[in-house]
């Protein structure tokens, strides 16, 4: 299988770039995504108002004629030297296959950084989760918790709160800007959290059975381990303002790059800019 362009990731950036490629008349495009549906990791939050532009994007993208391989994950990436084709290895429900591409756009997004990355002291019970886990549990018919503490620090956590408030009345929000999460308690399931007021140093012990917290992002560049595509110390792909990586015909856009942001707010913009360079 050979394509003009392979887009890794069908999230905000990938779909934006795909639409732009279609507008420019490029026909040989393949999209590959780890998830079962297009939309990317932020899809669960899109029913919130703050994701209205993304919802619109998804509607437009529904008419895209491009092939899209879902539940398919790139596990190996071998850039072609001197204008040769790039080779990608993809893991899918049918097994592993390889594809070749003239150009590759990496738009693989990012995951939410959990409490462990921030050395939050305390125990490690069930019930400590990021918004992404909470939303996935709800999707499966589970309730994440009965008394939830949510740390608000951006549009993802704000949207999660809006959606959770529909499910439960027992949600307490703390703004990250005012409160620092200082400890987690509970043996098997969360029993409470401790928060410190950044201004007054007041310590607040809150009883709860669930903590929803994430801060920062984990760029999904796991498949680039060992590949010659340059990444920064946070594993984000190093790109210039036009999405160029250090290698020819390999581009990257969105929250998997060093220019992306934790809340995926500038992903569309970055992808549009990058798409202009592609063709």
């Amino acid at each position: 299988m050979m394509y003009e362009l392979v887009i890794i990731g069908a999230g905000i950036s990938g779909l934006t770039a795909a639409l732009s490629a279609w507008e420019r008349g490029v026909s040989s495009v393949l999209m590959i995504d780890y998830q079962k549906r297009r939309g990317g990791f932020t899809l669960p939050y899109w029913s919130s108002d703050e994701f209205a532009p993304e919802r619109e994007l998804l509607e437009k993208a529904a008419s895209l004629p491009y092939e899209i391989h879902e539940q398919s994950t790139v596990v190996g990436f071998f850039p072609g030297a001197n204008g040769q084709l790039h080779q990608l290895y993809v893991q899918s429900p049918m097994g592993t296959y390889s594809i070749e591409a003239k150009k590759v756009l990496i738009a693989s997004g990012s995951l939410e950084k959990p409490r462990e990355a921030h050395k939050i002291p305390g125990t490690r019970p069930a019930g400590v989760m990021t918004p992404m886990m909470a939303m996935q549990l709800i999707e499966r018919g589970y309730q994440p918790g009965r008394k939830i503490v949510l740390i608000e620090n951006g549009r993802i956590s704000r949207s999660t709160a809006v959606l959770l408030e529909k499910e439960t009345s027992n949600l307490v929000k703390y703004a990250e800007s005012d409160w620092e999460l200082t400890s987690i308690k509970g043996l098997s399931r969360v029993e409470g959290v401790q928060l410190r007021n950044r201004m007054t140093d007041e310590i607040n012990e809150v009883a709860c059975d669930t903590l929803i917290f994430a801060k920062g992002r984990v760029p999904c560049t796991f498949f680039l381990k060992g590949a010659p595509i340059e990444r920064d110390q946070h594993d984000a792909i190093i790109v210039d303002a036009t999405g160029k990586t250090n290698l020819p015909d390999i581009y990257a856009a969105g929250s998997c790059t060093c220019l992306g942001d934790d809340d995926h707010t500038n992903s569309m913009e970055l992808a549009k800019e990058t798409a202009k360079q592609l063709f």
Binding site: A117, L137, Y142
Partner: protein
């Protein structure tokens, strides 16, 4: 389970209990292991440094030194038969001044000799060549080439699995709550928390931190166990060390170490904090600080390392100061394998041998089981295709998860799947893939669907109630 009488019931499914079950499964015996938690290796055996110690620093003449000595020759066979991830990386005890060098020469060299463990002095240049990240202040050190690292969970699970293949039974998620003597003192009757009873000729007490409570159930007050916590920091930074880097212990503390981990990455720690609560596995700011302060002296950049996870384990410190491996004086049909404090992973194969010999002395006939298997087959599922990726951070496929669910010791928790596959161990710590693993578990065992999925220990419900499916 309750219909027949067992020859031996092992109480506790840590590395010690499963090693004993394995050793006994090579004889014609009716065996049962009872573990309180939903999986094996949920106690101290899951949270330790993962080092297979030689015993170079063990006190000569102790039961501990003897078990470590026996284990040294057993590990290579176990690693091969059970394919335990194992790296013979060696250790260096690093001296940074003349005083520490003196301590090594006067204490550790003769001690290693008494235990018959090979050690030699290493120059600062040699140490730095192999471990460039070590402090430039190093003046030399003691090399212990026989020290190694392994996956403690793999070892525990594999010990249990080979025993199950050889006919042993395992009950998970039920603790022993009561023990009485029956049949005129010939048998023991164990009552489980759910009220079921089990009759056995012998019981082995391998309940780790709780082994004193099991001893009390037969009226034995001869030893008690107190908890001592050790906190760790796990990092995936590429630290330029190839061996386990040990400090020279002081009078009050063994100190913290920096060690490679078999799956990649490095461990910094552990602390040694006496506490009251056997269950307290929390980490603290102070603990993290003391780990970093200690490691910094060995590897100066320690403070700069990003961390993927922190955790704590709790040692079983025994009032007797040594391993307690003997029949109970009150009830000789109970054999203790208790007080296994800091080297239980390394010593487990030797402990198992010693327990088997103790049981034999106590009257148990050990007839070899000619059919017994020694090596663990690799595959337990017929899955042909690898399937899609479930754990994105670690590239773990659906079939790897399904495979783990079809092994002789079936995981019932997310942590069980995690330890068998490596899934959820990456940067996102499972927040992306845990729900997908729940799906695979439900598809593989539809009879479990609707049950609350557990994270790890009892009652660690991942979601509190099953609500309505959202539109």
């Amino acid at each position: 389970m309750q219909n027949h009488k067992y020859d031996v019931v092992v109480i506790g499914g840590g590395v010690v209990g499963t090693a004993i079950l394995r050793a006994l499964s090579f004889y014609q015996l009716k065996l049962l292991l009872i573990e309180k938690q939903p999986d094996v290796c949920e106690g101290t055996s899951k949270a330790n440094s993962g080092i297979v110690h030689t015993g170079f620093d063990a006190k000569p003449g102790t039961v501990e030194a003897e078990c470590l000595r026996r284990s040294r020759s057993l590990w290579p066979i176990l690693v091969e038969n059970l394919r335990i991830p194992f790296i013979p990386c060696g250790a260096v005890m690093v001296a940074t001044n003349e005083e520490e060098k003196q301590i090594i020469e006067t204490t550790y060299v003769p001690n290693a000799k008494a235990n018959d463990v090979d050690v030699h002095w290493m120059s600062a240049e040699e140490i730095l060549e192999m471990n460039p990240a070590v402090t430039a202040e190093v003046t030399g050190g003691l090399a212990v080439p026989g020290e190694a690292i392994c996956d403690p969970f793999w070892a525990t699970r594999a010990f249990g699995e080979i025993a199950v293949l050889n006919g042993a039974e395992v009950v998970l998620g039920q603790g022993v709550s009561h023990i009485e003597t029956v049949s005129n003192g010939e048998d023991l009757r164990l009552t489980l928390e759910n009220g079921e009873t089990v009759t056995t000729r012998y019981a082995v007490n391998a309940a780790g931190l709780w082994s004193d409570e099991i001893a009390r159930m037969v009226g034995d007050e001869s030893f008690s166990i107190s908890p001592r916590k050790g906190q760790f920091i796990l990092t995936e930074e590429a630290i330029s060390i190839s061996s386990i880097i040990l400090p020279v212990p002081t009078k009050t503390s063994k100190g913290v170490l920096v060690s490679p981990v078999v799956f990649g990455g490095f461990l910094l720690g552990p602390t040694a904090e006496d506490q009251e609560d056997k269950w307290d596995r929390s980490t603290s700011q102070a603990g993290m600080e003391s780990v970093l302060a200690g490691c910094e002296k060995l590897v100066p950049d320690s403070r700069q390392f990003s961390t993927i996870r922190q955790f704590a384990g709790v040692r079983a410190v025994c009032s007797e100061g040594d391993f307690v491996i003997r029949p109970s004086a009150v009830q000789p049909r109970m054999i203790h394998a208790a007080g296994i404090r800091s080297t239980g992973l390394s010593a487990s194969p030797g402990i198992a041998e010693l327990v088997a010999a103790t049981l034999q002395k106590a009257g148990l006939e050990l007839q070899a089981n000619e059919q017994a298997q020694h090596a663990l087959p690799d595959l337990f599922s017929e899955e042909q295709e690898t399937g899609e990726i479930i754990c994105l951070c670690r590239s773990i496929t659906r079939s790897e998860i399904v495979n783990s669910l079809k092994r002789p010791l079936t995981p019932q928790t997310i942590d069980g799947v995690k330890r068998r596959t490596g899934a959820t161990l990456g940067e996102c710590q499972g927040n992306c893939c845990i729900p997908k693993i729940i799906d695979v578990m439900a598809e593989t065992y539809p009879e479990h669907t609707g049950k609350q999925p557990l994270k790890g220990v009892r009652n660690s419900y991942l979601a509190v109630a099953q609500g309505e499916k959202q539109a």
